[in-house]
Each structure stands twice: as C-alpha cells, then as structure tokens.
C-alpha cells in the first residue's frame, strides 16, 4: 500500500465531516429549493407551479408583516442585548468580590431552554405582573406583546454576549491603560478611546451572532404568544414552521425560506464588512 502524504491524510479526515454536512445540510437545502417551485402540501401528489410561490411572496400581506416584525424585533433586541451585555462585562471585569460566582450566575439563562424560559415568563406576564398592579398582561395587546418578546429574548441572549465581551476585555493589556492614564484618559474617555476600539472585533462578532439569532427567533414566540395577538408577533421562522409544516403550504414556505436564507447571508456579510473596517490593531 502506497504511503499517503500528510496532506492526503488530512483530506481523508475531512471526508466524514463533509459527508455529514452534505447529507444533513446541503441536501435538505437543495431539496427545499426544489420544493419551492411546487404547490407541495407536505404529503401526497403535487404539481410544479413555476415561480408562482415567489411572486406570491411579494404580495402576501402576512409574509410582509412577518418580515417587518422580525426586523423591528431583531434590531431592538440586538441593541438592548449588546448595550446591557457590554455594561455587565465591564462590571464583571472590574475588581469586584465574588467575580467568578457572579460570572457563573449571569451565564445561567443561556443554559436554560428557550421554551422553558418562555413558559416561565409567560406565567409572569399573564398572572404575576397584573397581580402586582402593573396593568393588564403585556402579551394580550398588539402594542406591547413584541416588547415582551424582546425582554425575554434579550434576557436569555445577554449571557452569551457578556461572556464574549469579558473575553474581549481580557485581551486588552494593562500597559495600554497605564500609558493612557499618564495622558489623563480615565473613566468614559478611557472606554471611548482605548477599550472600545480594542474590542471592536468582539463587538462585531457579537453583532453578527445576536442579529442572526434574533432574526431566527422561534422558541420564545412559540412559548409566549404563538404569533398572536392578531398575528402581530409572527416571526419569519415561526410562519415558515406554522404554515409550512402544519398549514399545508410546504412549497410556498420553502420559497419563503429560500428568500430568508439569502437575506440573512446578505446581512451577515454586510455587518462583517462594515465592522472590520473599524478594527484597530495594536
């Protein structure tokens, strides 16, 4: 048997991963793309309908509304998560007591399942907050339901964002601060001129990750509102699942999923390009 070169061995090692990725990721993607040109209900016989699904997408008010809601939600939740996450990271990176314990506690929401968190918050919104005299349930009004979802989603996402910011803050060497302090950079100026520019790579990865996660919001909606009240909190993923799997619109929602995939890729590429221009190297 001929001896394989080092490179060939590495290539061989990637094969199983490649096969798995292809079978569970690429193949479904291609199949979904094919179904998007049919009126497939999810079972039984179906016909090809050409690009009807795609033209319908742009005239469907429900789909349009779900895109609006998802973006409104994702932008606000990303801002809230990153601002609070950065503040928490600054605090947890300072010289405080019980630092490790606190870091552990702040990470707990990330470990809990999205549905569990959703159901617990659902109970709080429906029974506990009104009982405390804080008006009626936030989930029953079209004006406040989406904010309730932002609160729950951000509460859970902040954990991971904070963790990434903490690791970012630890990469900033102490001598930078010392040098800055001699020039009089303390407090806010220190953060604005020294800390933040040096952690921009972490800021950009956090922006991309949380934006992507929030655009694909699903668990929280499933547990809190099921898209209601009055279909005001239907995210794109929820609509694709709801109408594609249980509503007999498999073909149409496949088309929606294809468009949504392109949108997410475009946003991620844009964000990475935009923030990488602002990065500082020491």
């Amino acid at each position: 048997m001929k001896k394989l070169s080092r490179n060939q061995t590495f290539m061989l090692i990637t094969i199983p991963v490649l096969v798995l990725f292809f079978v569970f990721n690429t193949l479904p993607l291609i199949k979904g793309f094919m179904y998007s040109f049919t009126n497939f209900k999810g079972f039984g016989s179906y016909d090809m309908v050409g690009i009807r699904n795609y033209t319908d997408l742009f005239t469907d008010a429900r789909v349009g509304k779900s895109y609006l809601f998802t973006f409104k939600f994702a932008v606000l939740a990303t801002i809230v998560t990153n601002v609070i996450g950065l503040l928490l990271a600054l605090g947890l990176n300072g010289k405080i007591r019980a630092k490790s314990a606190l870091r552990g506690i702040y990470f707990v929401p990330r470990i809990l399942g999205g549905l569990v968190v959703g159901y617990i918050f659902g109970y709080i919104f429906t029974y506990i907050l009104p009982a405390l005299g804080l008006g009626s349930s936030m989930l029953s009004s079209t004006k406040t339901a989406w904010i309730a979802i932002v609160i729950v989603a951000a509460w859970q996402a902040i954990a991971q964002t904070t963790l990434i910011y903490i690791s970012g803050l630890q990469t900033v060497p102490a001598d930078v601060y010392e040098a800055g302090a001699i020039d009089g950079a303390t407090g806010w100026i220190q953060f604005k001129e020294l800390t933040f520019p040096l952690i921009i790579p972490f800021f950009s990865i956090n922006l991309v990750l949380s934006m992507k996660d929030f655009l694909m919001v699903f668990d929280q909606i499933m547990a809190l509102t099921k898209g209601g009240p009055a279909q005001s909190t239907e995210s794109i993923s929820y609509l694709i699942y709801q109408n594609g799997i249980t509503g007999g619109q498999f073909g149409f929602q496949s088309a929606n999923a294809v468009i949504f995939f392109i949108v997410i890729v475009a946003i991620s590429v844009f964000q990475l390009n935009f923030t990488s221009k602002k990065e500082e190297q020491l």
Partner: protein, 432 residues
C-alpha cells in the same frame, strides 16, 4: 502512518454506515413472528389510556394479528412527516376536518365501501364526511367513530343555586348573561390567547346563522362571506361584552381552570374540554346547551362534527386484517371503553351510556338536528382562527369580512379551480 489511515477509514465508514443505516430502518419486518402487523396512529393524545386498553384487549383475543396503536402529541405533524418518509401506518385515526379533505385530495386513503361495519353508523355522520370531499368522490373513505358537540358548557350547581334557566333564543341568552353579570358573577370566560378557541363560539353561532354549505356556495361563486357571516361576527362581539377582563391574556388551559374553579358560570367550548376541566375539579357538575344563535328556537342547530374517524391508508397491504381491527373497534364494548374515558358522542347506531355533561344536548343529538363545524372547510394556512382573534381585538366587522373573502379566494384557488371544472363537467348531469 498506515495505522492512522486505517483508523480514519474505519471512522469514515462507520459514520457513513450510520447515515445510510438511518434511512434503512423504516421498513420493518412485517411477519417476523408469523403474525400480521397492523400499525395504527391516532391523533388524540388525551385518549391514550383508552387506546392502550383497546390494543391490549385486541392482542389478547387475536392470535394472527398484532396491533400497535400510537398516540403521539401533535400527531398531524408526525403523520405528515411519515407520509413524506413513505413510512405510512395502516390505519389512521384523525378528525373529520380539512386535513381529511387534504389527504383525500392527495389520494392517500383507501376506498373502504365494502367494509360491513359502515352499515351500523348513523347516516348523519356519513353525510358529514361525504361533505368534506372537495369534489364528490366515488366510495367511502372513513368510518366515523365518535363525534363531539360544541355549544355552551355551564356549571349546573351555579345555575340551580341561582335559579337561572337555560336559554333557547339569542335574546334569552343575552338576558341571562345580563342577569349573571348583575348578580356580581362572571357570565363567560374565554381563552382567546390560544387562537383556536376563538373558533368554538364562532362555529356554534355559524351553524345557527349561516347555511351549512356556505363554503361550497362561495367556491361556486354564488355568494360572499360578507353576506353570510355578518350576523355571526356581530354576535361574537356581543358575547365579548360578557367575557372576563382581558380575555386575550388567557389561554385554553387558563380558561378551563377558571371555569373548573367556578370563576364563570358558562364557557363557550366543545364537549372535548370536559376531561380537561374535570382534571382540575373532578367533582364538578357540568352540563351543556346548544348555542342559541338565532331568535327562532327552531333554527338553533347543534354544532357537532366527527371528532375521530378511522381511515385505511392506500398503501396498506393487509386490508382484511385492517378490517378486522376496524370491526373490533366498532364493537359496543370497545366504544363504551372510549366513551367512559373521553367525553364524546358515538357515531354508531346503538345504545350507549352517555356522559351527563351532554344532558342538555340529548334532544338535538337524538333528533339528528346537527351540522358540522364550518371551520372543517377552512384551509389551515388561511388561519381563520387568528383572523377572528384580530377582528375581536379591533372590532371592525366590515374589514374582517372583506379580508375573509379576499383571502379565501387566494388560499383556495387550486380547489376553486377544481370545483369549477367539476361543475362544468357535471352541469348537464344535474349531480347537485
């Protein structure tokens, strides 16, 4: 180096093997133990205990057939997934609703008109199933098993204590709500956070106030929902006045719990909610009455549909064995097992002990004065339930019904085309 290569190849083959193996394990050996295996999937997880009992009894009395019954949560999704995987159960237990129509349309079910048990089923229920076919088909495709009835559940104890009378017309009903409200108690409780619960009062009112075949009439282009559902929508709004504070904050479970705890005198929902209510308060004395939508008591019809029916799938290879299972399920004692566990109306024409929570509806049931749920004809992707919720929130009748008409045409165009083709073909035959 060579060891490494071997190791990698091994890992690679195992992984690929796993992947291929996964796809291979769908087709099981049918007759490994010499018995014919019949698999059945039914969509009511709340009835899992009754079905386990039936399965046990069947397997104890049959040597040649082995029956397995699955009762998964969210069975419709499971079923659709299995249809895609082409791993189809032999018998399916589903509701008589639009899913059944879709399965028929997709040619997934077998014609079982030669099954003898069909002759024991009440004609009214066979007709209800017949109406669910988008275009009339030859043959019979389902055995109606049990029906449910929707109207108004009431707390019998509260009614007796206060001397309230059961209403038979809409004005009496509104008067009763007013009386209850004036006495400082809560007339109605809704769980409108779960959109599907909006359909319960909607359906019950619609059978009283709109023609039974309204959807078919619209598909033929003879009328509009704006004309037929006007009254239904107005009366939904009237009901809302007597609901608890902020009915959109509470879901189905919340509403069942509140009603079980005596927080309201009545609850507009179907008989299927009774087991859930009794799980909270086992001693509660529940009765029900027909939703009095019209002011002419004779026009008030019971809203009853096929809650569970059995179909044999087109791919089933063991038709005789499947019929044997169906015959067993239709035995009086088997049906009684189901009735004792679940709150339901049997479709078989025989004498059964019915639960006391149906007392107030017996007159209508025995007279066969009932009509199917209208939402059984609505396409699922149109989400009529959510549209009703939207309407109840913004209270704009015209906007709601106009959207109903526009959406109907958009979501049903394939069916409307089919119906109109069928009508054109059969215009001379006078089949209608």
């Amino acid at each position: 180096m060579r060891k490494k290569v071997i190791a990698t190849t091994l890992v690679a083959t195992t992984l690929v093997g796993t992947v291929l193996g996964l796809t291979g394990c769908g087709s099981d050996s049918r007759t490994a133990d010499g018995k014919i295996h019949i698999s059945m999937l039914q969509y009511k997880p709340e009835a899992v205990k009754a079905f386990e009992k039936m399965q046990e009894e069947f397997n104890a009395t049959h040597d040649d057939i082995y029956l397995t019954i699955e009762s998964p949560n969210d069975a419709m999704t499971v079923l659709r997934t299995r249809f895609i995987k082409e791993d189809v159960p032999d018998i399916i237990g589903i509701g008589g609703d639009v899913n059944y129509s879709n399965f028929l349309d997709a040619e997934m079910l077998m014609d079982i008109s030669d099954f003898e048990g069909l002759s024991t089923i009440k004609q009214a229920y066979l007709d209800i199933d017949k109406n669910l076919e988008f275009v009339p088909l030859e043959g019979t495709y389902a055995v109606p098993y049990v029906a449910n009835a929707a109207g108004v559940l009431y707390n019998r104890e509260m009614f007796q204590e206060n001397g309230w009378e059961i209403p038979t017309t809409w004005d009496e009903f509104m008067e009763l709500c007013e009386t209850i409200k004036a006495s400082g108690q809560q007339p109605l409780y809704f769980g409108f956070k779960d959109v599907w619960t909006c359909l319960a009062p909607w359906n019950a009112l619609a059978v009283d106030l709109a023609p039974a075949d309204v959807c078919r009439q619209v598909n033929k282009g003879e009328t509009l929902f704006a004309n037929e559902y006007d009254d239904v929508a107005e009366k939904m709004l009237e009901l809302l006045q007597y609901a608890q504070n902020d009915p959109f904050a509470y879901n189905y479970n919340d509403a069942c719990t509140a009603f079980a705890n005596g927080e309201s005198a009545m609850y507009c929902i179907g008989s299927y909610a009774v087991p859930q209510i009794q799980s909270v308060n086992p001693d509660m004395d529940i009765d029900s009455f027909v939703m009095p939508g019209s002011n002419n008591a004779d026009e008030n019809i019971l809203n009853s549909g096929v809650d569970l029916q059995f179909c044999v799938t087109a791919d089933c290879e063991e038709k005789e064995a499947a019929y044997e299972v169906l015959s067993f399920l239709l035995e009086d004692s088997t049906i009684q097992t189901y009735l004792d566990d679940q709150n339901a109306v049997p479709c078989k024409d025989s004498t059964f002990k019915l639960p006391s929570s149906l007392d107030g509806m017996l007159g209508h049931i025995n007279a066969g004065k009932m009509a199917d749920y209208q939402d059984h004809y609505y396409p699922a992707e149109m989400s009529v339930d959510a549209q009703i919720q939207t309407f109840l929130l913004n209270q704009d009748v015209d906007a709601f019904l106009n959207k109903f008409d526009t959406d109907w045409v958009r979501y049903n165009r394939d069916i409307i085309r089919k119906v109109q083709e069928y009508e054109a073909q059969n215009a001379e035959g006078g089949n209608e």
